[in-house]
Amino acid sequence: MNAHADADQEFLAQAMPAFISEAAEQIEAIETLLLELEEQPDNRELLDSLFRCAHTVKGSAGIFGLHRVVEFTHHVETLLDQMREGHIALSPHISTLLLHCNDQIKYLVDTAAQSDADSAQQSQERAALVEQLRALTEGRGTATHGTAAHGTAGSQTDTSTDSASGDAGPSGAEGLWRIAARFGPQTFRNGMDPLSVARYLAGLGQVLAVHCALDAVPPLEHLDAESCHLQFSMELQTRATREDIEGAFSFVLEDCEFDVVAPQSEQQKLTRAIEDMPATPRLGDMLVAVGALSQDKLQQALQTQQDSRAASAAQPPKIGDLLEAQAAVAPEVVAAALNKQQKLREGAPSEERYIRVQAERLDAVINLLGELVIAGAGATLLARQSRHESLLEANLQVNALIEEIRNGTLGLRMVPVGETFSRFRRVVRDTAASLGKEVNFEIIGGEAELDKSMVEKIADPLMHLVRNSLDHGLETPQERLAAGKNRAGHLSLIARHETGAILIRIEDDGRGINRERVLQRAWNRGLVEPGVVPSDDEINMLIFEPGFSTAEQVTNLSGRGVGMDVVRRNIEALRGSIVLNSVPGVGLQVDIRLPLTLAIIDGFLVGVGQSKFVLPLESVVEVIEAADSNVRADAYGRHVLELRGAVLPVVRLRSLYHVESELPERVSVVVVNSVRGSFGIEVEVLLGQHQTVIKPLGRLFKSLRGISGSSILGSGEVALILDVNALGELVTSEQKNAAGTSPVERREAVTS
């Protein structure tokens, strides 16, 4: 027995981190659901989901023997259960209470591993919360609900369940159970006594009726005094669970046939519990899990099925029928379980299967994938040189597969941004409340996916911007009404895919950026020469300068002056860009653009002189070979291309990056799409599609506009990856290019 217990302890210790992270997910889900529920208080599905989450946390905690978690969560679960039954309706007070309870559950789970970590303050707060919960639930007089769904370890050893003793296991509903027992002849000889079984059962609750049938007892002259022919039936009103009740028979299992029938209302609850269960394919397991059936009875029924299968070639009895007949499982409950099975077989897509993967392992695989891509390119090069037909073909096939694996693997790291956005709901709610502002918060496009590491890094900057909107942008209800706006301010987080990038927009309908104040501050700080008035866009961007804050007092939330420049730096570190669009009195729109992935992209390789460049394939619209005749210099010295009636500006990489080489005989133009519109890039050699593993630029090259990274080609050469959007800005800017001076140089002169 001891070795068993040790092995169990070890298992629990190893599994604890998994429990904590899974519980954390449930807790997060609870918060999201609660906030959604505030918008739709009658949504039955939300209430069901809420209950399930709490129930799951409680059940898992029970397995780990985490009594505090179980006890507290049990009260929350009770309230949620009554809410989903429709007995209690959501009110703002209840909503806030539940949010606080969820925080407490989080605290309890986080400190679960340390049994002594419980501050007096927390435990006081917890007690206060419990009081409030009980005031709501017990005011109704209905006892708490708890099926033996997860086999809570806490109550297993204590068979004399007095629900008032406060042990960790949940108490069942007061229910009327029907128990029938027939004792076999050997009962006395095996040292057992029907009277003590009856006594034990009576100790579990209140016996409403008990009857001992004596028909099977032979008359005294024929009786063998040491053989047992007794049987009794009993109606027991108790809070005990099925396990507790059947526990009475644990010593007479061999000699006694017994039936324990759940109370009628219990069956309805069992039916619902079955519907709520996560995927469990086997009928018997499902019924055991919800407490409609004990494991022993299931084994008996399975044995019967097996025996009859072995005995005759005819169809063995169905397990559902057996359980109804042998184990007294109510027909409705069996039907519900069969229904659930049917739904699962049809592959109800509502529950997806997930696997937990350590992030480092995934990163390691992606790294290897990068190396694989490069190696593949190298092999292709050699294959081409060999001019060996079948080798080339095989190589192409390998490359195609590599590309597929690449897409699949990179996809593994993509998560919907909505998950991160949802976290903000709580912040917005609490912050708006503390500032006395009313805010409608909307999330649009949460399904847009982004690399997981980027999502994590973007969360803080986004939070800062959101807080900024709440603090500085959105006005109080009075101010808004005075300005002719709606009482409640509107704040949206929008995510959307664009060419090769993802756009995240924070939009509010507040007062916008006060440009006069910003300019004044900039003058005071010497950021701009006093008296010089830059363009509106430039004034807006001034708020990103370090140490800049126009807030008169540093508020608790933002405006400490370290915020916005860190935000910009974080975004630029992700190779993203941030653009502000402000209309005074109307609102502010902050646009953040991030590349979709940091790792590998489909590229289009081009050559200029001895140098190689890569363009993101997504942005390439068309290629015009031998276009030299069409590229002209206009009156301002800018190069343009006439294409089907439209005039496109053209970037000449040769002059842009001072590539030295002989002038080529002919040039080609790659037409690309950027945020600023289409334009052409003049190159000399077109080298075709190329899977590009992105390596970051060294610090030396960071100031070079238009380059976003580098890549190693199969030949070992280094190719520079062009930043199409940055090039687009360069080429469409209004500033004239003086002949011979590239915009690149000019910028360097300004910033150095």
Partner: protein, 95 residues
């Protein structure tokens, strides 16, 4: 009027065989006398179990009218627990 039979203080599996013998002898004797109802007393019963109660059940199944005229507290409680309270209904004074 027959002789009342007094059940032993230990009405359990351990004494079941002997008690049965005694009961059978007593019934036979009553039959011989042509007595009315068999009168059984459990006033002295201090220990009882299922086997003991079964004996009385078997007696009852002999198709002779019988009545429990008295029962000790221990005995009465056991009857109630196992679902044999109907035996006690006709009894006289119950402790």
């Amino acid at each position: 009027m027959g002789v009342r039979h007094e059940l032993p203080s230990a009405l359990t599996i351990y004494t079941a065989v002997a008690t049965r013998e005694a009961l059978l002898a007593w019934v036979e004797a009553q039959d011989g006398r042509g007595a009315g109802k068999l009168e059984l007393s459990a006033a002295q019963v201090e220990e009882v179990d299922g086997a003991g109660l079964q004996l009385i059940a078997a007696l009852g199944n002999m198709e002779r009218p019988w009545v429990l005229v008295q029962g000790s507290e221990v005995f009465s409680q056991a009857c109630r627990t196992l679902g044999l309270a109907r035996w006690l209904e006709q009894a006289g004074a119950l402790a």
